[in-house]
Every structure is written in structure tokens, then in C-alpha cells.
Subunit: 303 residues, 4 copies
């Protein structure tokens, strides 16, 4: 199959969906994005990239950053993080406190906000500058040295962070933060404010399709660690729609409220999509449809 | 790799785990099983079977039957079942009523008891004799015409079915059962009481590794339906430990309180394990360890 | 103050509310009641009765029966029932299973359905015929030998009892029923189907205002037991609006979905009201307003 | 009855309970209190006071301050606070976030921490110095000008306030705080750190037994407002044991983790007790026992 043609077809077929769904509006910087944009990129394990649509427009990766933060913690600190965060789907909204309360301050998984705060906290302990560490990883893997956090997004997130601040203090009340709440929140917000394009994102995620090998061939993660991140993405990567995503798309994936999603075909490639309109579960409406079409037409699926 | 040698190795390595964990004891027929048994079988898509340990001892498949019931409903009735049951992990125990109440009587997935009752109800509507339909499927796929429900287990389950009866009436109170509660419960209990060996089970599940093709080559399910069952197994197949199972084993799987588990390597093979001692989440302790070793040593994993 | 004038005033002032709210419609017998009816009665401890409006029209007392069943269990069996049911407000709907699950099958209080089933179960063990026992109590205290269960209501309730059947099996699954589920449900439904007028109800409840003394002067309950029933009524008697009822009315009270409420001024009198239209929490809209006016104008309140 | 003799009797009878239960230990200032102390005071509506035991030892009133803060908000701002906080029992721990999440940031009642933060927020808006306003009220009503906040307790609470900070940000995330989170928390913590003796407390609460009249005869609250505070105390004043407290004691009351409780006999008197050892629900073990004995022997009860 000709991948470029396929991506162009997909761009055409999702046009009726563009502008549908809800654009995240809790901060003005996200609300003001043109909702009719759509981009898609595929990065082969070998390094080839195919892109179509608005694949070179940078967008706010938001929760997708959680995958890279987790990878860095596992790379530098090993499996000890799993004592502080579970690996199970939550069955509750991503910013819920309910389960956290009944499970004594141990978040259900590293991709709900509470779990990502724990990971950010550990990355802060290990690196001193977690957002910079994530940024450097993204720059090196994508080969794009201009990837950076959007300062306006970060500043605005901090002004609208009551829920995450509440989560962080809640974690702290159970003794599950090592650093001061304010520092953890700042690191977390900066990490989420990183902006990059579909092309950047597909390239940056290649290690997930390459048994943990970085772009330069050196290992970031072991094969086993890589498989395990993919497993967590599949069961927990798309909010309370992980079952639906596995059912429709059949690949490990991680979404963000900015409208991006990165998906992984283990051993083969990564696929990134972006379109700001979100479906009811907070995942990009056109993005999920595009991935559905991609896997249906290529036959690529882990199942 | 020599599969037979590998299975023999695994039988040796799980010996220290046998007798650990808790054997299901809510009915005497399960409680009285010798806890130190362990069996494992691998059925290749081509039909070859490898077995070791107590792989020919029949055991009560219990919740594993839910996969076969779901396959039959999809085969005969298509996707309409998904209007009556979701496909998301629950984050709660398999027999919980909490989420059912907050989600208006739509069970989270077809593998928690509430969802399996809805599937059994639909199979009853479609076939008239759901337990027989499941039994016939198992007999034909395994080639073992002696597979049958254990009448003592079924009778005993009915005497200890207050929780499932409660679930069924709860579903009925939301209008989510088509048949009388008593008939649905009887069908469900008989289906769960089916007994078969690891070898039978690995053979019977082959269609999940064969894009839906039955042992005789005819299609039971479409390729897409098969992938989707595997996706639901991965996200929801092992009670509230689906994330952990995906993380450790990396394959779609479905477990039962009788201590059996069936796992699927799409396009390749099915693996079945059985050992009665259950871990905290209700999955066979030695069984999960065996599958972990199997995937680690073969490198077979979907991630 | 002239009580008769006051009651007549109240009947006049609630007219604008009649027909508002929702009439219980889960069974046709309740749904077909003329929603514009309103009755009020006051029974002095001494035996005098004042009535106005539709005070002599019999209505289905439904959950109000729970008070009399509880009184009989305490009278005949003492405090042991409190091992099987708590005395705390639930913070959840009257027919919820959530809290029951997290608290191991011990209902929060005797006035939510689960708790009332436990009381009915115990009354069945103690008397053999719990609905008859409640009926005899009501007849003797009110002096009206024609009080009886409405057979159509009882039959219809049984046909629409999936939720209560679910609750009963749930209790049974925790070992918190002594009798077969079917017998407990039948007793409970018959007890709830008892029909009587406001005048009957005010008279029948007098023992709650008389330190436990029956109409004939003999003790039904001790002073302490009586106070305690009143305490449970105040904190748990009006579904999830007990706080609001205490705030507005300031008296112990028990409501039913038939639109009746009985309230108690300890040492003084009982007041009963009836109007079928229910507010959001399931309590009679005009009934609560009438009690509010009664306590405001008389200054009678326990606070 | 001779009240002084009765109080002396009660002091004697609770001796075996002193030292039982758990002293609050989340801050060192509370943990270090001598657990074997017990005091009791009764203040008649007329102004007479009877005391026994350690009735003149100041203790940290903690949550009891919530009653006085609520009284001040109602006195100065009327009923508008009820748009921001409900009046229903919660059925959950005092510092739980669960119900707050399912009810969109409206706390269940003004006596759980979330509700008290909303009240403190409003008092801050109305007075500018809420802790001072509460302190002045307590000083004037008790006639003790030395009542003050314990600065060490306040400072220590702030250092251990992650849970309350989490609650406050959670409220803010729903738009249910008017002032900055930090200012609300500081006001709240200072108010809870007020220290006073049983004698002070009984005197200070007299307006609750006097239809809202202050010690100098001027009105603080209307009769109706006073009754309503008493109603909220009865249904919500003693954490998740309000039903048990109503059942055993039969009076409106408010407890604090410092081991104090104030109870009200409307129109008659207030009773205050103090002993640091707490029962499972967080109410003073000896304090509840003493109030139980007091109401049993005097026959004073609202039921």
C-alpha cells in the first residue's frame, strides 16, 4: 500500500467531521485554536515519515506528554514508580478524585492527572528540571530543536489549575509527593504546554515502536519496558474510552485535550493525528476516526 | 524454540507457586478441587497442540465461558448487543452493582457478571438454549464430544446465586433483560458450569487466533469481530487486574474463578493454563506466572 | 390557638400547590390517584382529633409503614435489630445499592428500602405474619377496623419489584436475611400496600407522641425506645431530604411515595398530611409546605 | 434535680472511659494533650453555670467553631449562604471529596470541612477578618476576654493542611469560593484553633438555647434561624455518627476533633463536654457517654 496516498485519502474522508465535537475551552489559548484543522503523520521505525493535512502545525500536546515523562522516569529510575501509581484503568474521569480517595492516594494509572502528577514529581526528583528533560527528549527524537513549551499556555494553565492543585494537595495529604506541591504543579503544567506538530510527534514516539531504541540507535528503554508502556497506553491511554479505542482502533495510543493522539504499531511505526474537536470522552473526534480508517485499511492492529 | 520443552520448563518453574493463593470456595464443588494441579496447553492456528502438566484434567471454566457466549451472540446477532452493554473496563469488582447504578443499568463490559447476564439473555432470545449452544461450540472446536456442564456445580451455583440474582433483577429494573430473570440465571449458571481441560480450551479458542475461522475452516466471526473480542479481552478480561495482565503478559486473555485462563496470540496460537489457586484479583496465580514466562521466553506479545 | 381553624387555613393556603410535583407512577394504582387532593389531621396525645380537607380519604401509606414495622420489632424483639441495620442517614436514594455494597450488606437505616426489608424479615421471624401484625397495630391504635392492604396495589407492586428483589437478594448474599427472599418481599409489599386516611394515621401514630403508650394506655414501647424511633425519623425519615425537613419543619417525620407524611410533636400530638404530588426528593410537596406552616404558626418544634 | 450533683456523678462515672479512644494526632499540639482529662459544664438560659471536672481547662474547639461561624454568616448575611452549601447529612467522612465531586462543588452541609470552608469564605467577604469575628462573638457571649486562637495550633494546622487545601482548590474549581484559596484557608485554620474551656463554651452557645438572644439580651439570630441551626446540628453535627448521636443523646450537638462537644436543650440550656479520646467516628468517647447519661437522668431530650 502507498502510505502517502492512504494519508491523503484519510485527510479527505475526515473533512465532514472537522468542526464537530467540542474544542477544549478551559483556557483561552486552547479555545481559540481553529477547529477545522486536521493533520496526520506516520513515522516508520526506519525513520521515513509520511504526512498529510496540517501535519506541520504545532499544537499543544497536553496529556500526550505523560507518555514521554513516564518513559524518562522508567529510563532513569526503573520500576520503583509502580509503588506510587497503579496500572489499571480507572473507570472514572481523568481528573476525578473519587478513586484516589478510596485507594489511599495511589492513582489508578500514570495517565490520569493524579498519576501524571506523581510521575512529574518523581521526574523532578530525578532530573531537577522535568519539563526541560521532556523537551530535550522530544527535540532529540524528532530532530526539531525548536520544540518548546508555549509560555502563554503554561501561564494560563497555572491560572486555571484549581482542580490539579486540588489533586496535588490530595496526593500530598497521603504522602505521595516528594517535592513541594507548587514545584510539581509548575513542572507538570510546563510539560503539558509543550507544542509540536504531528510530524514531530510521530518521530518523537518512534522508540515505542522500536523496542525502546532512540533515533540514534541507543536504548532509551529496554524491550520489556517499552512493551509495558504500550500496554499501559492501550488500557489507560484514552481517558474513559480506552475500551472503545482498543475496540475501534486496536492500537496502543495516548490522547490529549489539545486534540492530538499518538498511536503505536509495535515493531512497525507510530501514527500521530491532530484535530481540535473532541468527542464526549475527550479524545479527538476526527483523530479517532482517522486512526480507525488507518487500521481498517492497512490491516495493522495488535489484535 | 521447542514449544514442548518450553511448556515442560514452565510446569517445573511454577511448582513453588502451586497451593498458594486462594481456591474459590463459594460453592463446595470448587472448594474441594486439589489446589496443587497445574496444566498448560498451546494450540497453534494450524491445529497442532502442545500440552504439559495436568493439561487433560477437566476444570470448571466459569467466566471463561463468557468469551464463547459473546462470540455466539456476535456471530448470530451482530453488533446490536453493544447497545445493551459497554466495552469499558470497570475499575470495580466483577460482581459490583455500583457502576451499574450510576450508569442506568448498562453494564460496563460483557465480562463482568452483569454484562455476561445481558449476553446470556440475548443468547437465550436468539438460540432458546444458550448453554447448549455454548457447549456445542466448545465440543466442535475442541473435537471433544464429552465436554459438558457439571450438573453438581450448576445446581450448587443456583443455590448460592443471591448476588447474581440481585444483579439480574437490577438489570431487569432498568429494562435491560428480555427474558424472565429465572431463565436468564439458569442459562448463565449452566454456561459457567461447563467443564473442560486445558487442551480442550486451547483448541476451542483457536478461532480467536485465526481471524474468526472455526476448526473446520468455516467462519464463526469476521476478522473485524474477532479483533474486537480480543480487544475487549485485553481491556476487560481479567477482572480488576486487566492493566496488570496487559503489563505482565501482554496478550488478550480471559480468566475464570475455577483457575483457568485462555490467552490469544493473534494470528498464531492460543495458550490455556489452569491452576486453582487465585491471586487477589481472582486470576490464577500460577496461571498468570506461567503466561508471563511464556511470553517473556517466546517474545510473543502484542506490544 | 384554635387548631381546627388553623387546619382549615392550611388547607386553603396549600391550594396553589395541589397538582404540582410528580405523582408516583411506577405502578398504575398510584399513578391514577387524583393529584389535587389534600388532607391534614392532628391527633392530640389525649385522643382528640382535628381534621380538614380530604382527611378521611384512604391512601397508600407505603414507606410510612416502616415506622410501625420498626416499632413492632422493637416491642417484641428489643434492640437486637440494630446489629443488622445502622441508624445513620444514607446520603443516597432510598433504593440505592451503593452504600450497601461498601458497608457489607448492613443497610444504613431502617427507613431506606434495604433496611426496611431487614426489619420486615425480622418481623416475619417474630410474628409469622408481619403485614397482619402491622395492620392489627394500625387498626387498634386508630380504632378503625376496616384498615387493610389494597390487594391491587400489593399485586402490582410485586409485578414491579425488580429493584426491591435485587435489594433483597443482595442482603441475602451478605447473609442478612433470615427468611426466604420471596417471603420477605411478599411481607414487605403487603405492609407497604396498607391504606388508611389522615385521621387514621394521626391516631395510629399517637404512641410516638406518648412515650410509647398505646391508645388503651398499655405500653407498646418504652419511653427510651420511643425517643429513639423519633430520632431515627428525624435523621432518616424523609429520604435524602431529612436535613431539609428538619430545617423547614423541625419535627420527626416519615413520608411515603403515596404522598402521606406523619410527624410527631413529642409529648403533644401527631400530625398527618397527605397530597399525592411529590417534590424532587420524593416527599409530598403540599404536605411538607403544610407542616412548615403548621410549625411556624404554632411555634411547635423540637428545636 | 440538683444539677451540680448530677455533673459530679457524671464526672465519676466516665472515669473508666478516660484514656480510651484515639487522641487526634495529625498535629503535635493536639497529640500531646493529656488524654485523661474530662470536663462538663451546663449553662442555663438564665445565665447560671454549673461545672465539674476539668471544666476550666482550655482546649482546641476545632470544628465546634463551625457553629459560631455559621451563626455569624446567617446573622450578617441571611439565608443566601444556602445557595452555596446544602443542609443534608453526607454519609461520608468529614473531609471526603467524593460527594463534592458528584454534586458539582456544593458541599453537603456547613459542618463538613468543605462546607465550613464555604462559610469561612463568606464570613471573610462579609467581615474581612472572620477568625476575629468568631473570637469576638465567643468572648462576648462567654464573658471571657482572654479567649484566643492558639498560634501554635494554627501554624501547625497550616503545615498539615494538604487535605483542606485540596478541598479548597476543589471548591474553587467549581467557582464556589469568593476569596483566594490561601486567605480562606488561613481564616479557617485560625477559627478552628480557637481555645476555650467547657465553661466558656457552654456560655458562648447559650444563644442556641435562647431563640437567638445574646448574653446581653440583644438578638444575634431570629428564632427561626436559631431553630434551623439546631436542626442542622442534629442532622449533621457529629460527623458520620449524627444518627447514632441523635439516637443516644437526643439533642442537637456539634463536636470537634479536640474532644469537645456542645449540645443544646432548646429553650433551656447548653451542655458542653470535653475529653480528648475520640471514638471511631471522631467524637469524644467520654463526652458522648456523659451526654447520654445527662439526658437519660434529666429526661431532657428533644424527642
Amino acid at each position: 500500500m502507498d502510505i502517502q496516498n492512504l494519508l491523503d485519502d484519510i485527510v479527505a474522508s475526515v473533512q465532514p467531521l472537522l468542526g464537530q465535537g467540542e474544542v477544549a475551552d478551559y483556557i483561552p489559548q486552547l479555545a481559540s485554536v481553529n477547529a477545522k484543522q486536521f493533520g496526520i503523520s506516520v513515522a516508520m521505525r526506519s525513520g521515513e515519515v509520511y504526512s498529510s493535512g496540517d501535519a506541520d502545525v504545532p499544537f499543544s500536546i497536553q496529556s500526550i506528554s505523560k507518555v514521554f515523562a513516564l518513559a524518562l522516569v522508567l529510563a532513569r529510575d526503573g520500576d520503583s514508580i509502580w509503588k506510587r501509581v497503579f496500572r489499571e484503568p480507572s473507570g472514572n474521569p481523568f481528573n476525578s478524585l473519587v478513586q484516589l480517595e478510596s485507594e489511599d492516594g495511589i492513582p489508578r494509572n500514570p495517565f490520569i492527572n493524579a498519576g501524571a502528577l506523581v510521575v512529574a514529581d518523581r521526574l523532578l526528583s530525578v532530573t531537577g528540571h522535568p519539563a526541560s528533560a521532556v523537551r530535550e527528549l522530544l527535540r532529540q527524537e524528532s530532530g526539531n530543536p525548536r520544540i518548546d513549551a508555549d509560555a502563554d499556555v503554561a501561564a494560563s494553565e497555572l491560572l486555571h489549575s484549581h482542580r490539579n492543585t486540588s489533586l496535588a494537595h490530595f496526593l500530598a495529604s497521603y504522602g505521595n509527593l516528594e517535592n513541594p506541591v507548587e514545584e510539581v504543579l509548575e513542572a507538570y503544567v510546563k510539560q503539558c504546554a509543550l507544542a509540536m506538530s504531528c510530524t514531530d510527534l510521530a518521530l518523537a514516539g518512534r522508540f515505542l515502536a522500536a523496542n525502546g531504541a532512540r533515533a540514534d540507535g541507543t536504548p532509551l528503554l529496554s524491550r520489556s519496558q517499552t512493551k509495558r508502556i504500550n500496554a499501559v497506553m492501550l488500557t489507560c491511554g484514552t481517558y474513559d474510552a480506552a475500551g472503545e479505542f482498543a475496540y475501534r482502533v486496536g492500537l496502543p495510543g495516548k490522547s490529549g485535550v489539545g486534540g492530538g493522539i499518538v498511536a503505536v504499531v509495535p515493531e512497525h511505526c507510530t501514527i500521530s493525528v491532530w484535530s481540535p474537536g473532541l468527542g464526549r470522552s475527550g479524545n479527538s473526534l476526527a483523530g479517532v476516526a482517522a486512526l480507525d480508517e488507518f487500521t481498517t485499511r492497512t490491516g495493522l492492529s495488535i489484535f
